[in-house]
């Protein structure tokens, strides 16, 4: 059970979850950008993540690097299969990443980089959603290589997961901004939050119901006794969380909706894991088949054991330093 490949599958799943949690709200702010007023509001919104965005995105690099290191075969199959959405994501991340700096460099160019921040965040998020959908849907494999074409990823399901993630990240972004801002900006976000939450809930529901019908194997996994019994709390907890978010938004409690919304994401993510494990390329390659030799996994585990706790400490410290509401006009620019 706790052999090195399984440990690494768990660690990588954790890394990707942390990425989704941390960069989700961060990308969400970019998606919300057109709804914020030019100038001050956008400045403040960006400054709520400016000190931490780079660290958030590093989890994506660890996800990619970790997959290469721990499951090189899976990495070698998934990346070419998802060539187009992966590269689209990278292009999106380029535009939004540089916007954090470029936006402040020339007042006359602010429009360009507002658009870059929005467009880049939207493209990156939509692509990540497509990657997720196409991945769950399955990838054509022949021997040790991807055997499909360069548009296999395109399907109604992957488009739909792309769309859902856009709304999902925008929702996280809203909760984050409610937590980090005040005044008019926060009030407007409160108005936005309820319709947005309902949309996210609807979309997540559709994706959850759609997923088991993608393959008989996933279907069997969800709708089989006694598994069904173990899994039944998942939708119940989700409904409970949604209720708590609703109540707290109504009461205008700035601090609770964000962690609760993260809880919703964790739950959906767990559901996804149930649909996939023990595969690392769904229904084609298992964790054990793709795993690098123990000599690689063990060597890396030492590094993870040393560095991950340190990373948690100083990342937490950095969030702690920049805690609290961001006032208009703060920043080093």
């Amino acid at each position: 059970m706790f052999d090195l490949p399984t440990i690494w599958a768990g660690l990588l799943a954790l890394v990707i979850l942390i990425y989704v949690i941390l960069d989700g709200f961060d990308l969400g702010i970019g998606i919300l950008y057109p709804l914020l007023q030019k100038g001050e509001e956008r400045n403040t919104a960006m400054n709520t993540v400016a000190p931490v965005w780079d660290g958030n995105e590093t989890w994506l690099v660890l996800g990619g690097g970790g997959l290469l290191a721990a499951f090189p075969l899976a990495y070698a199959i998934i990346m070419p299969a998802l060539y187009v959405p992966i590269l689209a994501m990278l292009f999106g991340l380029i535009f939004r990443g540089v916007s954090f700096e470029f936006r402040w460099r020339n007042p006359r160019h602010e429009k360009i980089w507002d658009a870059g921040f929005f467009g880049g965040s939207l493209l990156a998020t939509f692509s990540q959603g497509i990657v997720l959908g196409a991945f769950v849907q399955g990838i054509a494999v022949d021997g040790r290589a991807y055997s499909g074409g360069w548009f296999d990823w395109l399907s109604p399901f992957s488009m739909f997961t792309g769309l859902s993630l856009v709304f999902g990240y925008a929702f996280l972004g809203t909760m984050w901004l409610i937590l980090k801002t005040e005044g008019e900006l926060r009030d407007r976000l409160y108005k936005l939050s309820l319709p947005l939450m309902l949309t996210v809930f609807l979309l997540t529901g559709i994706v959850s119901l759609w997923t088991p019908f993608l393959s008989p194997e996933i279907f069997a996994r969800w709708f089989k006794m006694p598994t069904l019994l173990y899994l039944s709390p998942v939708p119940i907890i989700a409904a409970l969380l949604a209720w708590r978010i609703y109540v707290n938004l109504k009461r205008q409690n700035d601090y609770r909706p964000f962690p609760l919304a993260l809880g919703l994401f964790v739950l959906s993510y767990a559901g996804l894991g149930i649909s996939i494990f023990p595969y690392v390329v769904p229904r084609a390659i298992t964790v054990a088949e793709a795993a690098a030799p123990d000599a690689s996994l063990g060597f890396m585990l030492i590094g993870a054991a040393i560095f991950l706790p340190l990373i948690f400490i100083y990342t937490g410290y950095s969030y702690w330093i920049f805690r609290g509401k961001v006032k208009a006009g703060e920043g080093y620019h």
């Binding site: 400016a50 690097g65 075969l73 060539y83 590269l87 700096e101 991807y146």
Partner: protein, 466 residues
């Protein structure tokens, strides 16, 4: 079908060289600049002199822009191994993957985690903690160089591995893998190159402002610091480069032959200064040579034997035309850098360092020299490794992903356009920031640009100090 595959392969190679070539420019600058910032802040804490913290604030903004560009172009690299070189990724993943994972864990998080505090946190955490953050960022850039150069060096001089039944390289001895034979030399050579790149940019900015206002204190301080660096480190680099070359001759003689334009194996080989290596005709045309000097440099004996390209089968030879010329560009630039550095010592001794306009103009012209030398040097070592990705073991044409040519052509085109646009803007912003004087001048010569953004920016700098 084969020709279509060849096109896809060529496109994938072009895409990789373009994306990595652009990417390496940013870390080349930030590795040195992070250390420079740490030195500036350290000097400020130690002496309390305002000029150091002003210079810190001046360069930290530039650092932030360059760093952001390095981050976004770097994320591309960590996925491109899979999207375009999936067979390579599958086969080398068990060895290169952990090295890259260590880079992310020990370096990228450190840099990213403390960058926020370094940029935004001075008023929140106090001086000492802030200095710690700056140091962490600098250490992070070094760790990053350590791991990525270890990985690259393993591809050049692989050891400590075995090959399993599905054809993957698997680790046998991690110490041997990490500290493979070419690694120490490549690490030293690259870190020094990064320091020089930074020194010549800082020196050029200092010189540019000295040409406008000799009394500008910030410009004097940064110019002086940059010239010390150039004077000491540029000659050191020539020495380290020579050691790196000797190491290459031991492990990759074909690369040396391509660098030297030697096709015949010979004792007492000449040094070919210039010429046009012709891979088809198997000779270096129009060669201008100095007899025996080639052997003297490479073997330290006038009659030492140097292996030529003909000693290797045609399909195993790197392209000498590219390697030969890239090597000469690198060496030429290195020589210029060392000359400028040594000349600065003489001017300093004569107390004319801040008064010699011609020298300042030369220093301005040398601003891009470090970047050019880095690109030329990487061209030597990477093209010189061809036709292999893992030297002698895995061929480049057996490393690529099964992605169709139109897909790669499209992405390559987008990469070229996006990089030109995005990084073009970035370079423009950096140049604008460099144009603002580092500290307010004491004489009204600053009136050469009395209105506009420069004066606004300098006022802002003034405000921040309060």
């Amino acid at each position: 079908m084969e020709s279509v595959d060849n096109i896809a392969l060529l496109l994938a190679r072009l895409q990789f060289s373009w994306t990595i070539g652009v990417h390496i420019l940013f870390p080349s600058f930030t590795i040195g600049l992070a250390s420079y910032l740490a030195v500036l802040e350290g000097l400020w804490l130690k002496t309390g002199k305002q000029v150091y913290i002003r210079l810190f604030k001046y360069w930290v903004k530039i650092f932030a822009v360059v760093f952001a560009m390095g981050v976004v172009s770097g994320i591309v690299m960590s996925y491109e191994f899979g999207t375009n070189w999936s067979v390579f990724a599958d086969k080398t993943g068990p060895i290169l993957g952990p090295l890259l994972a260590y880079e992310v864990l020990s370096a990228f998080f450190l840099e990213a985690g403390f960058l926020g505090i370094m940029l935004f946190g001075l008023s929140k955490v106090g001086k000492k903690l802030h200095f710690t953050a700056t140091l962490m960022v600098a250490i992070g850039t070094f760790f990053s160089a350590f791991w990525i150069l270890s990985a690259n060096s393993w591809m050049q001089t692989p050891q400590g591995y075995s090959i399993n039944d599905v054809g993957q390289f698997v680790p046998e001895d991690w110490l041997k893998i990490v500290f493979n034979p070419s690694f120490p030399y490549r690490l030293m050579h690259m870190v020094i190159a990064a320091y020089l790149t930074t020194a010549f940019v800082v020196g050029a900015v200092g010189a540019w402002h000295l040409l406008r206002d000799k009394t500008c204190e910030g410009a004097r301080v940064m110019f002086s610091m940059a010239m010390w660096m150039a004077a000491i480190v540029a000659p050191l680099q020539i020495f380290v480069g020579d050691m790196h070359g000797l190491n290459t001759m031991e492990h990759q003689p074909a690369k040396i032959a391509a660098m030297e334009g030697h096709f015949e194996t010979q004792k007492g080989a000449p040094l070919i200064l210039f010429g046009i290596p012709d891979m088809e005709a198997e000779e270096t045309k129009y060669a201008i040579e100095i007899p025996k000097l080639g052997s003297l440099i490479l073997t330290h004996h006038a009659d030492g034997e140097i292996i030529g390209l003909k000693a290797f089968p045609k399909e195993d030879r790197p392209n000498s035309l590219i390697v030969f010329w890239a090597f000469r560009i690198m060496v030429g630039l290195g020589t210029l850098m060392a000359s400028l550095g040594l000349f600065s010592l003489w001017l300093r001794w004569r107390k004319k360092l801040y008064d010699t306009a011609l020298f300042h103009k030369a220093a301005v012209l040398m601003a891009p020299s470090g970047f050019m030398a880095v690109i030329a040097g990487w061209t030597v070592t990477e093209v010189g490794r061809q036709p292999y990705t893992v030297y002698g073991l895995l061929r480049t044409n057996q490393s690529a992903a099964p992605v169709e040519a139109p897909a790669v052509a499209t992405s390559l085109l987008i990469f070229i356009i996006v990089y030109f646009v995005v990084f073009g803007f970035g370079i423009y912003y950096i140049l604008r920031m460099m144009k603002a004087p580092p500290t307010p001048g004491q004489t009204p010569t600053a009136s050469s640009h009395p209105i506009g953004l420069d004066s606004i920016m300098s006022t802002q700098t003034g405000k921040e100090d309060n």
